[in-house]
Amino acid sequence: MAEVTLIKAINDALATEMARDPSVCVLGEDVGRGGGVFRATEGLLRRFGPDRVIDTPLNEVGIVGMAIGMAMNGLRPVAEIEFSDFIYPAFDQIVSEMAKMRYRSAGQFTAAVVLRAPSGGGIRGGHYHSQSPEAYYIHTAGLVVVMPSTPSDAKGLLASAIRGEDPVIFLEPKALYRTVKGEVPQGEYLVPIGKGRIVRPGDDLTMITWGGMVPVAEKAAAAAAAEGVDVEIIDPRTLWPLDIGMIEASVNRTGRAVVLHEAPRTCGFGAEVAALIQERCFLHMKAPVARVTGFDTPFPYALEKSYLPDPERTLRAIHASMAF
């Protein structure tokens, strides 16, 4: 197995699934000749041709709506939205159509589209190239929301999303595209939807985090370990439906939980995780579930570093929880 970047793993998943199943197509802005602004679709046009690697006009309603129609008529479209910040023109197509097609037709029609979008901060991108929108989609019944944090998970989860029968919002932590490397199995490889990953086992406190915050959690946990605090890190990978069993078991054991995410705090996914934990683990809790998150402001440009949770802020939350 080769060590590859996360973006290469995405590219690998796309190529592998397209080679396996001729109904898999990719579409979006600049995905063909351009190879994708992050190069996720590089080489696919040459290999699979313009019928399956579709450069679209600049319109997200068209991209998502067309993908829905393709899915209804036997294809398996993987649509790329250039940045998750630019998905909103298609929000109606996502929440009113993609998410509800199976339900409203009682299963006669489905919209098993995979919508890939680079997400999160870390590239000095300001307001519109940095946001973390997962909560909007988790709140929308009918959507599966996935966010990998390692190359192998990226490959395996994307392949599972493509083969699945549900619409998937597949958020890719762009900060990690080229900064993490890892071994990725060659050829067909699947990671199941709905199963979390224990990034680091630990006994004293459970930290739930995902995407670009996983390396931050690891640093904070290492620092805590040096102080004798043993943090368990859980990356749910599939944000919804959440692997609640893994979290519950951990928190029942540790009695302490911190949720760490980039998105603004209020009504972020951290709120849901906190609500679930206190509902399910109430009698085991030694401290309130803490949230370390982006602030409730638009994503700033100059102060990005202060906006994004870092190992120090995370460590302070660990301290506060341990000292509660």
Binding site: G65, M66, G69, A71, M72, L75, R102, S105, F109, D166
Partner: protein
């Protein structure tokens, strides 16, 4: 053809323009007529059901029967239909059963879609009649995607999508028309310009003289047709579907018509339309107009009997469907995903056990 030319086939005296006559066999013409009559009977009954509280809501198509029946008749096996809420006629003409339609309205176990949606939001996979949505024009981009899939597989099929004059203002229209032009897709955009989007007159919807000319902005042809003339609609939609199937790309059709009733059972059109205007259009009733022609041809004898027959058929269908049991509580949690995830299982169990 110039933009403002309006194609029509049926002359007021009951004759037809021989150059434009789609030349349908007699039984087909009678079938068009009967479906129009049935459609109106459905409207009448559904509105009555709503008034008596037995259904929640209804959108009638009274006055626009020539549009949906004419268009529906141009759809062939293998073609796809992405209709708007007002176009039950298209499905009906394609064979969507009256019983199924009535079941959907009632939302009980006679509804193949398990009471999930309001009346008028039908679908039937077996005839590629796609699930209707309430947000205006969201079906247009789906039509594009379905057409794309058919095209890359080399299928000789066309995709029909229907919508109103208001629909042309939506972003979904813009996206769908543009993608259709760029990818040269077999989509027929059938716009029923009934002159109003709820209360808004079409003159305030857009500053163009016609809706058809909007097609040019996307490199597509645009055609206008008399929407109260079922043969003209059949002709124009049929030609466009044929072009689409032949790989010659999409078409925008503007059918000029009028809704004689309210926008929906929640609407009071007297607030925004004059009696005279409505009366003038009532004089152009598409069913009566077609009846004159059919009588002249000796194909129709007793319109009143046809109407009575249709009403009776609808009455019986409602009677049959009304007896069906309500949808089970557990169905609330199904079809959200392909499988029921833990959180929905928990929510279902707590509801069924009377705990949560």
């Amino acid at each position: 053809m110039t933009d403002s030319e309006i194609l029509s086939v049926l002359h007021p005296d009951g004759t037809v323009d021989p150059l434009l006559d789609p030349g349908l066999p007699d039984p087909e013409m009678l079938s068009l007529y009967r479906h129009m009559v049935l459609l109106r009977a459905i409207d009448e009954k559904a509105v009555a059901l709503q008034r008596s509280g037995r259904i929640g809501f209804f959108v009638p198509s009274t006055g626009q029967e020539a549009c949906s029946i004419g268009a529906g008749h141009a759809v062939r096996e293998g073609d796809w239909i992405f209709p708007a809420y007002r176009d039950h006629g298209v499905g009906l003409m394609r064979g969507y059963p009256l019983a199924a339609l009535v079941g959907q309205i009632l939302g009980n176990t006679a509804d193949a879609t398990r009471g999930r949606q309001m009346p008028n939001h039908w679908c039937d996979r077996s005839i590629r009649l796609v699930s209707v949505s309430s947000p205006v024009a969201t079906q247009l981009p789906h039509a594009v995607g379905a057409a794309y899939a058919a095209k890359v597989r080399g299928e000789r099929v066309a995709v029909l999508t229907t919508f109103g004059d208001g629909g042309t203002s939506t972003g979904d229209f813009h996206a769908a028309m543009n993608f259709t032009g760029v990818f040269r897709l077999p989509v027929v955009f059938f716009c029923e310009n009934n002159r109003y989007a709820i209360s808004l007159p079409v003159e305030h919807q857009t500053a163009t003289g016609t809706l058809a000319e909007k097609a040019l902005a996307y490199g597509l042809p645009g055609v206008r047709v008399d929407g109260n003339d079922v043969l003209a609609v059949r002709k124009v939609v049929g030609d466009a579907m044929e072009r689409a199937r032949a790989g010659e790309g999409g078409t925008l059709i503007e059918a000029l018509t009028y809704r004689l009733g309210p926008h929906s059972t929640s609407d009071d059109p007297t607030v925004y339309r004059s009696e005279e205007e409505v009366a003038a259009w009532r004089g152009k009733d598409p069913i009566r107009r077609f009846a004159v022609f059919l009588k002249g041809r000796g194909l129709l004898e007793d319109p009143a009997a046809e109407e009575a027959g249709a009403k009776e058929a609808v009455r019986r269908a409602v009677e049959a469907a009304e007896g069906a049991p309500p949808v089970p509580l557990s169905s609330l949690f199904e079809d959200v995903y392909s499988e029921i995830p833990w959180h929905l299982a928990e929510q279902r169990d707590s509801l069924l056990s009377g705990k949560g």
